[in-house]
């Protein structure tokens, strides 16, 4: 099973790429759970799920035991049951979990966060491929929100601002719980020099190169997934990326079956 999370600067293309990746991975067979931890969620659109206001209901958690986490899943509800009940189902049978949204008040958001971290920690790693979309910037990734992933894909555009955030994200490899692979995906690439600029600046393999494709912006305006509106160079590049990520798992079978605690 593949467990990958996408991070990067706001606007770098995380949601467009991760949502498309989840659907294309699912088309190859195998169950896919898409997880969106951005309080400004964008993944639903690229998955082709119309409504993205799916906050986790408050009553999924109850107060935790003394000295433990503040909120825990209510008795009788485990990670598998949570996914079963609260993950919506989108095109290509991708299941989608959104941890909460900006619009809820603080306590709701906090409960959602606790439910979320327990679900990704306790879910059966053999049951799901997991594709995650992190919020822009470095905060969540650095605080361990990508712990569920074996692969952290840092999405970057060939601009100094985007590369600056990417460089800071790559420091994650120093963390004890860091995903075993931290890789770079170049987005909105116009020419070969763009990729060169990125790999020089980051000194890390660029495993995917996604072209600038006007159809993606059009899809965004129509609130459609890039897969459902004039699929072209962008979708082809994501298809390739899925293949590359799969092959890195094949090379290291052990990691593929081990999953993460």
């Amino acid at each position: 099973m593949i467990r990958i999370a996408f991070a990067g600067k706001g606007g770098a293309g995380k949601s467009s790429i991760s949502g498309s990746f989840a659907r294309l991975l699912s088309r190859r067979g195998g169950p896919v759970l898409a997880v969106d931890s951005d309080p400004l969620p964008g993944m639903a659109y690229s998955l082709g799920i119309a409504v993205d206001d799916h906050p986790t209901p408050d009553n999924v958690v109850v107060e935790g035991p003394e000295g433990g986490p503040k909120w825990v899943l209510r008795p009788g509800l485990d990670a598998a049951g949570f996914i079963d009940t609260y993950a919506s189902t989108g095109p290509d049978d991708v299941r989608y979990l959104q941890f909460g949204n900006t619009w809820g008040h603080f306590q709701t958001l906090q409960r959602g966060q606790h439910a979320w971290s327990q679900v990704v920690r306790e879910m059966d790693p053999a049951a799901w491929n997991v594709v995650g979309d992190l919020p822009g910037g470095t905060r969540q990734a650095m605080f361990g929100w990508a712990k569920y992933a074996d692969v952290l894909a840092v999405v970057t555009e060939p601009t100094p601002k985007s590369l600056h955030v990417a460089r800071r994200l790559l420091n994650i490899t120093k963390a004890e719980w860091a995903p075993s692979q931290v890789v770079v995906v170049a987005n909105r690439v116009d020419e070969d020099e763009d990729i060169e600029r990125i790999s020089n600046a980051l000194d890390r393999p660029v495993i995917g190169s996604v072209p600038n494709d006007p159809a993606v912006v059009e899809a965004d305006k129509l609130a459609l997934s890039p897969l459902d509106h004039r699929p072209g160079p962008f979708v082809e590049a994501i298809e390739q990326l899925v293949g590359v990520v799969e092959s890195t798992y094949d090379m290291d079978d052990q990691r593929a079956t081990k999953g993460k605690p």
């Binding site: 309080p39 900006t102 619009w103 555009e157 601009t159 100094p160 601002k161 965004d220 305006k221 609130a223």
Partner: protein, 138 residues
């Protein structure tokens, strides 16, 4: 120091402060009431961006964050502009066209003003100045 602490602690003066807030409405919901004279809500012509923009307008209005102006950014067609105007009804809208100069500047890590001071997007942003002066009582 957070943006909200900073903005609520600067003394009244003749200095103009321009703050670029975090994406979304988080900072706006935490900013003490009436911290600013004017709020610019930047939206792109996509349903997702318009949705966030509308929520920002609600919060800014509720929390009395001065006059609200909508900046319609990356506008490529007449439809793009109309869509934003319709979504924001009574609020003034300043339109900034999708401009390759801004994209090029981003790639160079330079300010678009320095790359081409006469660029379409730059002149359009200049159009904000009279709107701000008109709506701010200084």
């Amino acid at each position: 120091m957070s943006a909200e602490q900073l903005l609520s602690s600067v003394p009244e003066s003749d200095t103009v402060i321009v703050a670029d807030l975090e994406a979304g409405i988080g900072t706006l919901t935490r900013l003490p009431e009436a911290s600013v004279d004017s709020t610019l809500v930047i939206v792109e012509p996509t349903p997702r961006s318009i949705d966030v923009g509308q929520r920002a307008v609600l919060v800014a209005t509720e929390r009395k964050q001065g006059h609200i102006t909508i900046v319609a950014n990356k506008v490529a067609t007449h439809e793009d502009e109309e869509r934003i105007r319709t979504a924001f009804g009574e609020h003034p809208v300043v339109t900034v066209p999708l401009d390759p100069v801004v994209v090029a500047a981003d790639r160079q890590g330079a300010s678009p003003v320095d790359v081409d001071p006469n660029a379409l997007a730059i002149s359009a942003i200049g159009g904000l100045v009279p709107v701000l002066i008109e709506t701010t009582d200084t």
